[in-house]
């Protein structure tokens, strides 16, 4: 394993220490060593706190999105492991400035359990917490039902929307409503060209056989829809877009936001090559691209591959996505 590492068991702590030292202007650690909050200016009173969290290994998720008009606090677990309820509870407490908290997190069983328990504990303290789950991964849709669907990079767009809505002083109910509306209009799909190595273990937690690719892979190497022989970039884009656009009711006026997120191991060059075809496919279908993002937005350690996310924005979502956008994505 040719990696820049010390003790593999301490990667999370050392990475977080390095991040804090690099961004003392953005983020502070709290009394709970797994809870990080945004450095706020004095003017930022009376806004709903936006929280997220989950296992590490997805940088820049989650800590990299603790910034103005994005997340106010994050609850972090070990690599690919959901944080326990107590960590989410502390993040809620930190983020609350008197107008309650909205937690936007991925739809994973253990994250859900922790968030739900933490919300219950918060309520006992008189703290109002609402939550929204990202369940954009169509590889895990069951029929038309998204209740079991995993979250992929669509979550990043929700943070942007929720963060802007909170800065604009929307209340918690309104933020939940707009995030749920955005998520209902969001679909993602992933493709994995290699497994990723969990430093503590020193080897992959799953396998992608050389010469093949996993279509519909999740953010932790969760099983996909199908194993294909490896294909060219354009064919990968074709497969992904066919799956994403199938039965996708274009209620949003034939306009989309596109996010191509690398999984950590693929170069930016590859991501732009993938996006090049995606852009052509959309143009040929007369679907306008409102805004596109190509980069490592939600990774899976060093996995080769990418996720593609489509969001059909309405006017309010567009406004929120573009709010202070130079400072965020």
């Amino acid at each position: 394993m040719q990696k820049i590492l010390n003790n593999p068991r301490r990667v999370v702590e050392e990475m977080l220490q390095g991040y804090l030292k690099c961004h003392p202007d953005l983020v502070t650690r709290t009394d709970n060593p797994k809870v990080f909050v945004r450095k706020t200016e004095r003017t930022e009173t009376g806004k709903v706190g936006i929280v997220s969290g989950g296992g590490m290994g997805h940088f820049p998720a989650f800590i990299g999105y603790v910034k103005p008009a994005m997340l106010d606090a994050v609850a972090l677990g070990e690599i690919f492991k959901a944080p326990p309820a107590e960590i989410f509870l502390d993040a809620f407490r930190e983020a609350d400035k008197g107008r309650g908290v909205v937690c936007v997190h991925g739809n994973y069983e253990l994250d859900n359990a922790s968030v739900t328990e933490a919300m219950c504990m918060a309520r006992q303290e008189g703290l109002l917490v609402r939550h929204v789950v990202a369940n954009d991964d169509i590889a895990s849709f069951q029929g038309k039902c998204r209740s079991k669907a995993r979250g992929l990079a669509g979550e990043v767009l929700l943070w942007k929307i929720a963060g802007a809505a909170a800065e604009l002083r929307m209340d918690a109910d309104t933020i939940v409503e707009v995030c749920e509306r955005a998520m209902a209009r969001t679909r993602s799909i992933g493709v994995g060209l290699s497994a990723c190595i969990i430093p503590e273990v020193g080897e992959p937690n799953f396998n992608v056989i050389e010469g093949t690719m996993e279509f519909g892979i999740g953010h932790h190497g969760d099983p996909g829809l199908q194993t294909y022989k490896i294909r060219k970039a354009n064919e990968i884009a074709d497969l992904m877009m066919e799956a994403l656009l199938k039965d996708f009711d274009m209620c949003g006026g034939r306009e989309v936001v596109v996010m191509v997120s690398g999984l950590g191991g693929s170069t930016q060059m590859e991501l732009y090559i993938l996006f090049n075809r995606i852009s052509d496919i959309l143009r040929n279908k007369n679907i306008r691209v409102f805004r596109s993002y190509v980069g490592n937005y939600f990774t899976s350690l060093d996995m080769n591959g990418a996720t593609v996310t489509l969001l059909q924005p309405d006017e309010e979502i567009k406004k929120l996505l573009m709010y202070k956008e130079a400072f965020c994505l």
Copy 2:
């Protein structure tokens, strides 16, 4: 090779097409297909044009820095290949708005030859072009002489400085002077933990033996100073910082700007782990970090490893580095 690629001979063109489609608000292609210019606002008259260029494979260098208060135009070559003089000349012509052009490029023989020839051709057209070379790689310093030293990520800081200086309407001579002063105060060193694969060739152009690392490696896998057995992150940081700080006259008041740039294959987690130690080393030596950057700022395709750059800023350099900084780095 598990990569998201089509025809390996067309990666440069497809990547550039994808980039243009993703960032139509930032960059435009010119009549010369290897020259890209920044979309400018009408208010931006009377400024010196800032140009760079070189071979592809170093994303976000070069095209990713064509943005406000950074580069105005870039001249691009094939992967790791210097663009010919005609391409630089066209970039100079595009960037000129009547106050001349400053070209800030890496100190590589073929890039130098192209830039020098293009400057000569520009002069014949009455176009004033001055240039500054980045020669920050201490692995290629010869004694105290930097004339043969290669450029590493220090170049990115020069673009930031030159771009800000141009926006502040400094003239070409002043921009060259401040960039040369900044470069004299800049040192970098690279370490490679794996080779990188040139898509056209399908295999590495050099080799890093498993279990070893190349200390002092260049941006194209150029030979380093020494092959070491692979070491832990902290020991790698120690080696790099020892080399960087040796004989480094701390004329800048014991204050530095730090840039840790991934070479493409290393994860952001590893880069923060490396920075964590670097930050501690500097603190122990009572050297204050003015600003730190950790990310993929100047890559070498998918090489595993990182470069570390130290710049001792004076007050003017600090001001220029922080100019519109939320929009740039």
